[in-house]
């Protein structure tokens, strides 16, 4: 990968460059493998995968039932599996209960269905407050829920990875999966937003 700014390196960039060079010269690292990993998570694996899972759960009650009982298998059957999605659980929003996912201890996140986590998901402000003041946090995302609603916060402390299945928006009766997929955002599958409303 070309680098054009050798005279103004960020200290961390210099440190990364040094480590990559050392490991590459020893023969321990294939720099092209690093490129392949970056390409995977920038261009191939992202929240569109999870949106397809949610859309199918909305459109197909049998699939929704399989997703509820064995999310790992149901999601793998759609072709989404692997690193950081080895053990999946789907949690379903209802009119009474809203689900929110966090990892207070690091940044655990279901990569095969959502890609890599956004910066705020990994930041101390979110990790510290999502378990203690989720209503405040949701308000910062523009989502205010009534006090009568239960909020379930899932702290990803083990190797289970959580996917929120948001409520299907009203006015989408009869929509096909492809159209439904466009309503499912990354944040809706973390739990910091609702699914989009039909335009």
């Amino acid at each position: 990968m070309p680098h054009d700014h050798d005279n103004e390196l960020d200290p961390m960039e210099a440190r990364l460059r040094a480590l990559e060079t050392v490991l590459t010269r020893k023969g321990l690292i294939d720099p092209a493998a690093i490129d392949a990993i970056i390409d995977t998570y920038e261009h191939r694996v992202g929240p569109r995968n999870g949106a397809r899972v949610v859309a199918r759960a909305w459109a197909d009650p049998d699939f929704a039932d399989r997703l509820r009982r064995d999310a790992t298998a149901a999601i793998a059957a759609m072709g989404f599996s692997g690193r950081q999605g080895e053990h999946m659980r789907a949690v379903f929003n209802t009119p009474q209960t809203h689900n929110l996912v966090v990892c207070t201890l690091c940044s655990c996140y279901p990569w095969p269905v959502l890609g890599l986590p956004p910066g705020w998901y990994k930041a101390p402000a979110y990790r510290s407050r999502a378990v203690m003041a989720p209503r405040e946090v949701l308000a910062e995302f523009g989502l205010t829920l009534p006090d009568s609603m239960t909020i379930r916060v899932w702290d990803s402390t083990a190797e289970l990875r959580y996917l929120v299945v948001p409520m299907r928006p009203a006015g989408t009766e009869g929509w096909d999966e492809a159209a439904l997929t466009d309503l499912v955002t990354r944040d809706a599958m973390i739990g910091t937003a609702r699914a989009l409303e039909p335009a």
Binding site: I34, L105, A133, P134, E140, D155
Partner: protein
Amino acid sequence: MNGPQDLGGQMGFGPVDPRANDAALHEDWERRVLGLVLCAGAMGLWSIDASRHARESLHPAIYYNASYFEIWLRGLEALLLHHGVVTRAELEAGTAVRGDAAPALHAADVPAALARGGPCDRPVAPAARFAPGDRVRARIMHPRGHTRLPRYVRGHVGTVEAAHGGFVLPDSHAHGQGEAPEHLYTVVFDGAALWGPDAEPGLQICVDAWESYLEPA
């Protein structure tokens, strides 16, 4: 360990700004840290639990000042130094004598390796001690080593909601002391049980906890 990573319930970090910090990968060097961490992990010298422990073992002042991928980079350096893969002199020089080792992960093998992942469920011989519906207390414990029981639940009583079978125990695996699989449970705590009378209404917190983290309540 009660390290800087254990953030649940800490205060003072300010509001979440979803728009200002939305991208998964910000800088080119952050992209390469991600790739480098995965490639180095493929050497098989340490587990994902050891990786997490290396990051949480950073000095709190460094941890809280660092961007997320800086934490990853510093954790990786610590692991490589600990395992003798690199020397401090090599890191400072930014170069090394050319070696003839074979990379553990070639570009062509990346898709298969990522698709394979690293499942952590394991058979476990003893019967599960707890069942859904049981009331359990998260143990009061402060291990010096790695653990995945957050401080904010320790000593508090919750209800087992699900039993997941056996999983590799991070507290052992992070230190190269074997997988020592134990039953894993989802335990649900009421907000008021954790945060007292000022807890937000209608709050439940679900934590995945290994059997040795729990005792009957």
